[in-house]
Symmetry: C2
Subunit: 144 residues, 2 copies
């Protein structure tokens, strides 16, 4: 019951993109450094996030990566689910006939409630709010 | 970010044990049937739950398996963690120096809050309350 490395890295990368001035773009190496993500991972995650419509890439001299939507409307849950697929704490939480016991099993509503509680927190956390904290709190490396 | 099959099965088995009359014991085959758990899995899960002190086993004619503590004081979280170890939604939620960015990363408090919200639900759900629902709602198979 642990977040994948890829989802963790994707959230860090999206927060960094949300700190950039509107209209600016960044490249793979800068993203890797800012989000502390190993470079081989960055390309794969960028592909996933582009395919899911959360970021857009532009080729050429002034190209690079940027958020595709306002950071006000993108949540940590959106990013996690873009990478991992829909959150499913247990198989029975999925819609449809995923478990024969679903209709009467006393554990089923507990899994649903636990998942709802967790996803509510991740849904409330927008990239905009996290980027603001990031700008306020990231250590400043002053070159002497 | 999904519960393991073993933890799901362990919760079902513990709920079944909590429905039994005080002082009675059951065997592996009955547990497998009641909890809809494939029999090869049952032995392994019973070992884990015994080792963690949640159930006790007794050999011999009147032997079998029973809860080691009152179902009022054992929660779904206790069972999940006996099987999966301490809940860790993300690596940074573990105590200690598990991530260099922990002190200032804006995502870190979100992972902590999401985990707390989820574990609070699992901690509130006692085996006693689930066993009661089970007794009230399990379909009755009437042999004609």
């Amino acid at each position: 019951m642990q977040l994948t490395r890829a989802a963790d890295y994707a959230v860090r990368m999206m927060i960094h993109l949300a700190t950039l001035p509107l209209g600016s773009r960044t490249n793979r190496a800068a993203l890797a450094a800012a989000a502390s993500v190993p470079e081989p991972f960055v390309g794969k995650i960028l592909q996933t996030l582009t395919r899911s419509g959360l970021i857009e890439s532009q080729r050429g001299m002034n190209g690079g990566f940027a958020l595709a939507a306002s950071p006000e409307v993108v949540s940590v849950l959106d990013v996690v689910e873009a990478v991992e697929g829909p959150t499913t704490l247990n198989i029975c939480v999925k819609p449809g006939a995923t478990c024969d016991r679903k209709a009467w099993c006393p554990a089923h509503p507990v899994w649903c409630e636990a998942q709802d509680a967790m996803t509510a927190v991740l849904r409330r956390a927008t990239l905009a709010s996290l980027a603001q904290t990031h700008i306020d709190e990231e250590p400043q490396w002053i070159s002497l």
